[in-house]
């Protein structure tokens, strides 16, 4: 088992996800970037689970997949409601409140 390779892959995915959240202007794209981070965590968990030889990691990964689905559902609903009001999903247009 080449644990470090999995960890590296996970770290790269995590960084791409964080980068995506910071630079993407489209709300849906940001949502996808967050999903990417969650999946990087899944890779980590499964890899560690295999290393330690217990089930917790894999069980955890399943839970994360389920929760992520719920999160995406709610996120898309919020974005949709914004779109109804403003006809746009660009995050940079949301600056009514600042300071």
């Amino acid at each position: 088992m080449l644990l470090s390779q999995f960890l590296l892959l996970s770290a790269i995915l995590f960084s791409i996800g964080v980068y995506g959240v910071i630079v993407r202007r489209n709300g849906v794209a940001v949502l996808m970037a967050i999903e990417l981070i969650l999946n990087s965590v899944n890779i980590n968990l499964v890899a560690f689970g295999a290393m330690h030889g217990n089930l917790s990691g894999q069980v955890f990964a399943l839970f994360i997949i389920a929760v992520a689905a719920a999160e995406v559902g709610v996120g898309l609903a919020i974005i949709l409601s914004i779109y109804r009001n403003r006809r746009s999903v660009a995050l940079d247009e949301l600056d009514l409140m600042k300071g």
Binding site: I22, V30, L91, L94, L96, G99
Partner: protein, 671 residues
């Protein structure tokens, strides 16, 4: 009888609650009478408790009443309890006595004021807080009262200062008081850490065992707290501004009671000061005497009748701090009591004058009022003689005792104190002569006060001479004329109603005879000293001066007072004889002569006033504004990070996370 202690603060509290709920329905004057009755009842309760305490043997005059355990267990147990001992009862007696009279007076003074009921709500709340401060059996209960009196005074300043121009007065009072509160809070925690308790009984027992360093830190922090509350250098600038409230407030809060809480605190904690390094008491004495001198010299140059009294209050508080620094705790309390009587009398007298003069406060528009306001004049003169240190009035005895202790501490302190006494006699005499003697000057508006006001209000750039005339009208049209500029038309002074003069008479009697509690004739007549001795045992300095020295110092003090009075008389009374038949034009010139002389004589005073004004403007305002600027700049920078963009926020969170992880790993793995 001691069990009645809880009634002392409970009655004003009940008055406050009733007035808060139903005050507006009660209306005028019923609300006022109710408030007065509450405080009067509190005085009666105090008197009963006092008699109960007298009945006990001297060594056992310490009675605690715990209402309930407030902050329980866990190593830090604090009761909401009262400590009845000679000190707290002595304080309560004069606080409730003065407060009752002031309430009574306020019924007459506030007649017709739209804020009538609200005013009494605050007065009762204030008396309650003050009594909690004095009666609390630990530092936390005292802190409760400490915050309460501060809040009342801050509210009163802010509510009577509705215009934006005066908002800075409230801000200043707030900032200086918070600095003081902060000192008190830190002192409280330090005491707890060092002694494991903040009860005064435990502090008194344990103070001697404190290390000098700890005791010094506590004492210095207390000094910060006390200086804020009792208006000492450098935290005294708020007090003159706070005088804007109605006169009974000035009398109660800023003369008789609240400002003395710093002195009370030090007396309560005298064991800590005694355990501290010796230089701490010297610092206290020097701050006290410097405050006394500076404030007295400023008072010389004031024209507002209440401003003179305001600075005079600061100056007298300086005396009390001088007493504390010299180890004269009994003398400090003695002076606090006599000062409460004569200063309340003077403030109420000034209020009576202002009332009779249709809100005019400038002494240059007064004169010869003794014929029209005989009761006010006679009582005011008693107060003047008391504060000027003329025997046998009360102020002479208490001041003389402080000066005696100062002499033993250091002749330099004594000398500065003596100069202050001379100045005090001078400015008070000036005030009395300008107000009650000389010729009547109230039928014409005071024109040169207007430009000052105009500058203050920002209507004129700076004291330019020529462009004033056009703007005078503009100034008069301002809705709310501040003090110093009364109505433009002629005034018809009149004596105040009996509700106002009765308290004056009672206070005048007290100002004249209250020295009997501590007459230095024989050892037995020093009642106050015997009464307070168990409380101040640890810190009290024992006099070593010979009888001849005592007599000599007393005579010097009398001479200084006489010089001050005669000096003022020669300037402000003699002119009256010379210029009586003069034409109006000349009269006005004479009046210019007067102001010129005042400016000349008040040279040092004017200079000190300028210096303080500069200090106020530059340092205090600078500090207040500086803090504001720092807050603004810092918050401006921080606010810029709060762009409203989600992506920027995500960036900040990421940066923070990276920093946290980086620091953790750096500390944990690499180091």
């Amino acid at each position: 009888m001691l069990e009645l202690t809880w009634l002392i603060p409970a009655l004003p509290l009940a008055g406050f609650v009733v007035l808060l709920v139903a005050g507006r329905r009660l209306g005028e004057p019923l609300a006022g009478w109710l408030a007065t009755a509450a405080v009067g009842g509190s005085f009666v309760a105090t008197a009963v408790v006092f008699l109960g305490l007298v009945a006990e043997p001297a060594a056992e005059r310490r009675f605690g009443q715990v209402l309930f355990e407030w902050v329980p267990a866990g190593g830090f147990s604090v009761d909401l309890g009262f400590l009845v001992d000679p000190l707290s009862v002595a304080m309560c007696l004069f606080v409730t006595f003065c407060a009752t009279l002031i309430h009574l007076y306020a019924i007459g003074y506030m007649h017709g004021d739209p804020n009538f009921t609200k005013f009494f709500v605050y007065l009762n709340l204030f008396v309650f807080s003050m009594l909690m401060l004095v009666l609390g059996d630990n530092m936390l209960v005292t802190f409760l009262g400490w915050e309460g009196v501060g809040a009342c005074s801050y509210f009163l300043i802010s509510f009577w200062h509705t215009s934006d121009a005066n908002a800075s007065a409230g801000k200043k009072a707030f900032v200086t008081n918070r600095v003081g509160d902060w000192g008190y809070m830190v002192a409280m925690f330090l005491t707890f850490t060092a002694l494991g308790s903040i009860r005064y009984v435990d502090i008194a027992d344990g103070a001697a065992g404190l290390t000098a360093t700890t005791a010094t830190a506590v004492a210095l922090l207390l000094l910060v707290g006390a200086a804020g509350k009792s208006a000492q250098i450098p935290l005294f600038v708020w007090l003159p501004d706070a005088m804007a409230g109605p006169t009974p407030v000035s009398a109660l809060i800023h003369a008789a009671t609240m400002v003395t809480s710093g002195v009370y605190l030090f007396t309560r904690m005298n064991g800590v000061v005694a355990a501290a390094h010796p230089w701490v008491s010297t610092v206290i004495a020097v701050i006290g005497v410097a405050t006394a001198l500076v404030a007295a010299s400023i008072a010389v140059a004031q024209n507002d009748i209440k401003k003179v009294l305001a600075y005079s209050t600061i100056s007298q508080l300086g005396y009390m701090f001088l007493a504390i620094g010299s180890g004269a705790y009994v003398a400090a309390i003695f002076h606090m009591i006599t000062h409460a009587f004569f200063k309340a009398l003077l403030f109420l007298g000034a209020g009576s004058v202002i009332h009779g003069m249709a809100d005019e406060q400038d002494m240059r528009r007064m004169g010869a009022l003794r014929k029209l306001m005989p009761v006010t004049a006679v009582t005011y003169i008693v107060g003047w003689l008391a504060i000027a240190g003329v025997p046998p009035f009360s102020g002479f005895w208490s001041k003389d005792e402080i000066l005696l202790f100062a002499w033993e501490k250091s002749p330099v302190l004594w000398f500065v104190g003596l100069v202050t006494a001379l100045l005090t006699a001078f400015y008070m005499s000036r005030q009395v002569f300008l107000t009650f003697f000389g010729e009547a000057r109230w039928d014409e508006p005071l024109e040169d006060a207007v430009p000052e006001l105009a500058v203050e209000r920002g209507l004129l750039p700076y004291e330019g001479e020529n462009e004033i005339d056009d703007d005078i009208e503009q100034v008069y049209e301002l809705d709310h004329l501040p003090h110093g500029v009364g109505p433009k038309e002629a005034i018809h002074p009149h004596e105040s109603p009996w509700l106002m003069t009765l308290p004056l008479v009672v206070l005048a009697v007290m100002a004249a005879v209250s020295e009997i509690i501590q007459l230095p004739v024989t050892n037995t007549t020093k009642y106050l000293e015997h009464w307070l001795y168990p409380v101040v045992e640890q810190g009290e300095h024992h006099l070593t001066a010979s009888t001849a020295t005592k007599w000599g110092l007393a005579v010097v003090a009398i001479v200084a007072g006489a010089v001050g009075i005669l000096g003022a008389a020669s300037i402000y009374l003699k002119r009256r004889l010379d210029e009586q038949p003069a034409a109006p034009e000349v009269l006005r010139n004479g009046w210019y002569y007067d102001s010129g002389l005042a400016a000349f004589m008040g040279g040092p005073g004017r200079a000190a006033f300028e210096a303080v004004a500069w200090f106020d403007r530059t340092i205090i305002d600078g500090a207040v504004n500086g803090v504001a600027t720092v807050v603004r700049v810092a918050s401006g920078g921080l606010q810029r990070t709060q762009t409203g963009f989600v992506r920027a926020y995500a960036g900040i969170v990421t940066a923070g996370a990276v920093l946290v992880v980086f620091v953790l790993i750096l500390r944990g793995v690499v180091l």
